[in-house]
Symmetry: C4
Subunit: 316 residues, 4 copies
């Protein structure tokens, strides 16, 4: 199956299993539509002559990746899509040299996923009951994940269309996040940074990685797309820590745009769900491999030798 076929078949299958609601966006779904539209604003300046075959390999902190494309935090719908869905996703991502990211609830089989050997991130929502937050992080660390994180943008929980999904969340303060940072033994990711203010606070907290994200259109309506705010966030971060970006990335060319804007890697959520629904473990592998192949073609023809060397000079 090609990428387009997987996306189409995956969407149909999720719909037929009554899981399509998970793909929708908060309230008016503006964020979801905007996540699609933004990519159409940017085109590539070609460098056809003197270019050489690009590599998609890169390094995120202590993690070696074959591709600068990782999974965005999702847990809930995956076991409903296919039996052993999380294990299948883990195996697929391991095989293609990617990274897996899990959200809440923390999967009960987290240790099994760790054993697959894929580098794992476990992120946690800012539940109003803060003891629950720290408990989940400790549980993930004990299971052996590579990184842990807090979804700071879920300070009012999550919501799809008019239906609140996760409740009982409260925004975190810098002090609370600092305390978490002091207690964790693995790199700390802050997910859901979407303004220079929050980027500054992430540095103040001592975060090891940030994810620039609008939470896949599942928190607040009328949030911008990450690419619309990357420039000012990149200026604040100034290369001190790696930046991951997610939000509507579907094609290798989208990934290249994310890299040129200053991200070190790109997260994908719905594509993983489509791949799993359409063709199980194989489908997830195909999604990442096809996106990587598209990325490599586009990198080569724009003269970008590696993910780390992409910059906005190739964007028109």
């Amino acid at each position: 199956m090609t990428l387009s076929e997987i996306y189409q078949k995956g969407a149909e299958l999720l719909e037929s299993k009554n899981l399509g609601f998970n793909l929708k966006g908060v309230e008016t779904e503006f964020v979801l539509r905007n996540n699609e539209e933004v990519f159409k604003r940017y085109k590539f300046r070609q460098r056809a002559i003197n270019s050489v075959e690009a590599t998609t390999e890169t390094r995120l902190l202590d993690v070696e990746l074959q591709v600068p494309i990782i999974m965005s935090s999702i847990t809930a719908p995956i076991p409903q899509i296919q039996q052993d869905g999380l294990l299948k996703v883990a195996r697929a991502l391991k095989e293609v040299g990617s990274m897996m990211s899990l959200g809440t609830p923390v999967p009960s089989n987290l240790k099994d996923l760790v054993e697959v050997g894929v580098p794992l991130i476990q992120t946690v929502k800012p539940f109003t009951d803060r003891s629950r937050v720290m408990q989940m992080i400790s549980q993930a660390e004990a299971a052996g994940v590579s990184w842990v994180g807090v979804e700071v943008d879920a300070g009012q929980g999550t919501k799809i269309m008019d239906r609140p999904m996760v409740r009982d969340c409260t925004p975190m303060s810098v002090d609370e996040l600092k305390e978490i940072k002091q207690r964790v033994t693995r790199p700390l990711v802050l997910k859901g940074i979407l303004s220079p203010w929050d980027a500054e606070r992430a540095l103040e907290v001592g975060a090891d990685v940030i994810v620039v994200s609008n939470h896949g259109a599942h928190t607040i309506d009328y949030l911008p797309h990450p690419l619309e705010v990357m420039d000012e966030i990149v200026r604040v971060i100034a290369g001190q820590i790696p930046i991951i970006v997610d939000g509507g990335f579907r094609r290798g060319t989208d990934v290249l745009k994310g890299l040129t804007f200053g991200a070190q890697a790109v997260g994908v959520g719905r594509p993983i769900l489509y791949g799993l629904a359409a063709d199980g473990e194989e489908g997830v592998k195909t999604v990442i491999k096809e996106m990587a192949e598209e990325l490599k073609r586009a990198m080569t023809m724009t003269g970008v030798k590696s993910p780390a060397s992409a910059d906005k000079g190739i964007i028109l």
Copy 2:
């Protein structure tokens, strides 16, 4: 019912009762479409870290509101939608801590509405027969409304599509408005300010409140949306009197945009009609409560603590 369901069901019910015409716009309906489109231009800069739970409570002159969302002046279609429609709306708005605004004709049961205890505004059109204008205002004051007002933008009456609705109106002069101001005993609202020129004249008249509005697309075609002219009006008003804004506000995030542009409160018209049509008194309550809930979520996640502290810094 959720907000989307109320809006959809309300629109269907109004259509089935042959009241759908009231929802249409003047001549080409440009204003109506533009009222929808404008909100899509503005996105929010998120402040996820260090933010605290927002309050939607505010004060407009002498009126305490639980929510910065009030009713825009409408009378005519309401009794046709449900029996005792005006009373139901009044009770609903009272319960959610909002404010009611009535247009012409002045309802015959105005005193009953006052007795419900909801703060009331009665606005009057600039009928060419000026004695009728003053008589209506006096009648409203006698009934005990909180504020009275003149719909200055109805100087050529109202019109829906190609059909004139209210005729026999003539623009008011500053002198005529000053005379009204001298005679009223309650705060005077000037509704339908849509340019800095008229804002200056409103101050000259001594207006206590202005409503920046294009009259819900029921006067002249090709009027801008209030948000397109707010900046220059806010500069003229310079905090001397409160500003209410209306025009196509449907969601809590729309309200937050109105507040950041410098309004102290936002008016909603059609949403009240949808709520009443879809679910009576309960429907109106749900509309205001759901919008307020959305507003509170968005305020919290953008670091806006109260309606009065919203500013354009959070708009992208």
Copy 3:
């Protein structure tokens, strides 16, 4: 019938009589679509307070008009729409205080039209056989028209979609136009000015009036709308002669936009055809009267007292 109803019914009737082709545009029909879109770019700054009832009366050279809306040059399809179509149009325009404009072929009953008493313009295409041009102009003058003119923009004839309509035309030189100017006894109109270059040449020729026009999308594809080039043309003309503008004007608010951009009057073509098709003489009268009524409402609410006093200050 309202304006919308006339436009819709007229279009349907023309279609059913196989006359719909006349309404289409040259080649890709870009010009036709753009003629519609341009009006949506401009909105009005309202002046609701202190405004007074506007008048639509105006004067174009020696012609007194009740409305600043005149007919654009059309002849061919009118007799096919209704028997005595031209006479009916003439009578309607006379009654509403407008002006009639005829294109080629010069109608055989031109004298009858003159006798109706409506001020008449006869414009002629730049046929390669120049003697034919002068002959047509002399014939029109002899019949008693008010003004004569040359459609300078038909230098390559006319074309609708892929079908050439009028052939055998060649662009006119300044010298040729000067010679015509010397020989005519009535004011000379140059129709189809669409750039400052041609505006300069029109002054050089000694034209008495220009019509800024893209010929209703019937000459060359990808011509701009007149409003897109009015500013630079108005700068060249600098008030020395009157400017008429046409191209997609359908509503009174469109007319007001034309006036604010610096035109003294606005031409309408297809609306006349729709009116005639939908309701004969009465239909044409209704079109002009309804547009004038809309214009008057919009003028009054923007503080424009008369067509001559409109300026771009009211455009947003």
Copy 4:
């Protein structure tokens, strides 16, 4: 048949012969849609007065053309559209005074095409097996083509939607291209220049002609349209060698836009396929003749006397 009819009938016929896939674009088809949209951004400033009949004749290096419209490199689908398709295209282009361009594979009947007498360009892809590249060029020179060329933008082969078409290509270096330049006896075309960087390298190579092109949307997604990058490429080339442009040109007015942006000629691909499919040799002739006729009309009415004298002064 008119141009519109040929385009429509041609598209239908290609679809019915299962050849429609060749017309689609790479991955998301953004490039294909953008190739259509770009032309709508540019309008013409008319010069109706003092203009004279334009000529479409021009010269490209040593080639005299009746029209500044040539064929873009295509080979593969043509023999499948009609028997002797390539011969028919060659004869048609010869008759209308145009130029033929062939891509890979090099047609087996190349000598027969040369004998038709149409000026011929043979371009070759940068196959990883470089000996194959030089062999193809030598074969074309031996057959007697006018010019030879390299499709430098096919450095990652070609791809339609999700299906790779031509594989085994690698970007060429300046040194490799210089070596080819030294060995060829005919003018060398570099096709697929789309940035000032590659334009500089083309000059360094000593190319005799460049084709600014996004390869008809068949290489990399999100490439810009040539008109979006022409200004900066024209600045680099600075008149030293001729520039051909292709990408979505369908109408004579599109061609005029290409010329005003600084191209000496415009290439068309899909229009040739449509013409051949719809009406064989006659269809191809009609396509070029109709485009040329439209071009001449538009040139005349914008005061452009010849292809070489077009400049951006007429673009609005």
